[in-house]
């Protein structure tokens, strides 16, 4: 009895009637196209998420980009004594460019500087070298430290050193010479003595490394120390800076690149290359996403055409069902359910494919030192795209069936 009731349920009979003319090959075609489109989109989004950290070595939430520029040193300039300094007019011009947010000047020591490191307790076994200092405004320094100040009454010089120098020692020099590698913590505890000489003065002061910078490819001291020491030991001549640090909107900016080229400015470090690489990464990912979206859209239209064709072939049947008292939404439901089921399967399979592809490339990224980004964004994108496609499908089916309500005479 229950079996026979089941066989005569409106749901069963409706489906028996309306599935006629459904073309499996069209649905498979749609499903495949939709699957490919969606997989491409979310894989591109996921890849972008995973790769991006390689280009962002700073963890700051709102990312800023800095470039250090110098004027190109030419052979003629060297021979003829041409200036490599930035005039105030040149600095003002850079400051006024739309891609530039802030300009900071490097100032350097105008006196003789000698540094000595005492090694161990062997009674004065020491290493020494001529050295230079530079300073820039504190706002450009990426190492936050409360010790970043200088008091002439208690002279001790805080120093920030490029992290590259330490890496060069640890991975280049120490590794090849069998010397122990040193951590940032250890090297910060090594006392350094500086001898400052000039203008009739000759003083020795203690110094300490308080931090390592990724951004600054130099040895930096606080600006107040630089000002004080240049007044005390220097010649007293005001010099224009030979290096500038710029905070820019995007280091890959083509306009900026052209400006720097036109003025013969050079960019230190690979920040700009990185910026370009990141720019191209974003560009390529964007293109891939657009291609994926186009495929998804085409798949959407294939399904729409397929359903329109199906509804067209079943027009008489659908109208007769409406005359029996079935509402348009009841008549639409088998088709809507079918589309939702297909879309749900496509969504799940696309996510699985994306995760499989990710499992394939992730070890390579991990070898480059990045753990990979979150998958939440790609999942959200997948669900949103499928939801939009499904809503589009449902609206189209409903409208098509509502249009059958009034018959032409």
């Amino acid at each position: 009895m229950s079996k026979s009731n089941n066989n005569y349920s409106s749901k069963h009979l409706k489906w028996k009637l309306l599935r006629k003319h459904i073309s499996p090959s069209q649905l498979v075609g749609f499903s495949l196209a939709s699957l490919i489109g969606l997989t491409i989109v979310i894989l591109a989004v996921q890849f972008h998420q995973d790769v991006r950290p390689i280009f962002n070595d700073e963890e700051s939430f709102i990312k800023k980009d800095y470039l250090i520029i110098t004027r190109a040193v030419s052979t003629a300039g060297t021979l003829l004594g041409g200036s490599n300094e930035f005039t105030q007019a040149a600095i003002d011009d850079i400051q006024s460019q739309p891609w530039c947010r802030k300009v900071g000047k490097f100032s350097s020591n105008d006196y003789s500087l000698y540094a000595t490191i005492s090694v161990g307790g062997y009674g004065g076994s020491a290493m020494g070298t001529m050295l230079f200092f530079e300073s820039i405004p504190t706002e450009f320094i990426d190492v936050a430290d409360s010790e970043w100040k200088f008091d002439p009454e208690k002279p001790e010089i805080p120093i920030i050193m490029s992290r590259d120098y330490l890496s060069l020692y640890n991975f280049g020099f120490a590794a090849s010479q069998g010397l122990p590698q040193v951590s940032e913590g250890i090297i910060s505890k090594v006392p350094i003595e500086f001898t400052l000489r000039g203008n009739g003065h000759n003083d020795t002061m203690k110094g300490r490394i308080v931090g390592f910078s990724n951004r600054l490819n130099t040895i930096v001291v606080p600006q107040e120390f630089m000002k004080w020491s240049n007044e005390r030991y220097g010649s007293g001549l005001e010099r224009n800076p030979s290096r500038l640090i710029l905070e820019v909107n995007s280091p890959g900016d083509v306009k900026m690149q052209n400006y720097l080229d036109d003025h013969g400015y050079q960019v230190a470090g690979e920040k700009m290359q990185q910026g370009k690489a990141q720019y191209f990464l974003t560009l390529v990912v964007s293109i891939v996403i657009v291609v994926g979206i186009i495929i998804s859209l085409l798949a959407f239209f294939v399904l729409m055409l397929s359903i329109y064709l199906l509804l067209q072939k079943n027009t008489k049947k659908l109208q007769d069902m409406l005359l029996l008292g079935y509402s348009p939404s009841e008549v639409a439901r088998p088709y809507i359910n079918m589309v939702l089921a297909i879309n749900a399967v496509v969504l799940v399979v696309a996510i699985v494919l994306m995760l499989l592809a990710r499992a394939y490339y992730l070890p390579m990224l991990q070898a480059m030192g990045t753990p990979g980004g979150t998958i939440v964004i790609a999942l959200v994108v997948a669900v949103i795209i499928m939801a939009l496609i499904s809503v589009g499908n449902i609206i189209a089916i409903r409208r098509k069936i509502n249009a059958l309500w009034i018959q032409q005479s």
Partner: protein
Amino acid sequence: MNTITLHNTLPKVFAGRADTGSEIWLREVTFERGKHYLISAESGTGKSSLCSYLYGYRTDYSGTMAFDGRDIRQLSVAEWCEVRTHHIAYLAQDMKLFPELTALENIMLKNSITNHKSEQEIVAMMNMLGIGEKVNSLVAKLSIGQQQRVAIVRTLCQPCDFILLDEPVSHLDDQNNAIVAQMVMAEAARQGAGVISTSVGNNVKISVDKEFKL
């Protein structure tokens, strides 16, 4: 629903004709619940059009039609679904059966949304009409007369205030005509429903309170 009224109605294809000689078109007509009406017509006088207007799937007419005084042009889709499942039982001239379903499935497709009759009652009605052994036959395999009887059973599978029959017995012999008439009268009496039947000659043999010439 107690009354169906036609006020000055005319199919648009007849527009411009001054006098159609019709007792329906361009007249004031009221059908009352519980009464039996016969609309006799010649071919091409708009008989099926009248039915399609009253069932809400065509609107190409001028004038007004109303259920209980309410203009039917104002009914929503949901209200029409309610009319089609609870107020007017309709047998179309072309029957509108689904050939790929069996006779019983065709009837159950209607009955499953109205739950008006049990499966046994339906099979009993089919037996009365001599199509008992065709219960599980595809409609496509039935003769036109058998199809007409399946469609009549389906029409009666719903609660209603009016039974609207468009040439219900055009393909039936006298004996089956009589059985159909008896069955329709019984269902109408049970529900207190009115019956509006059209015919081009072979009338269903029901008692008629009023006859209109279309």
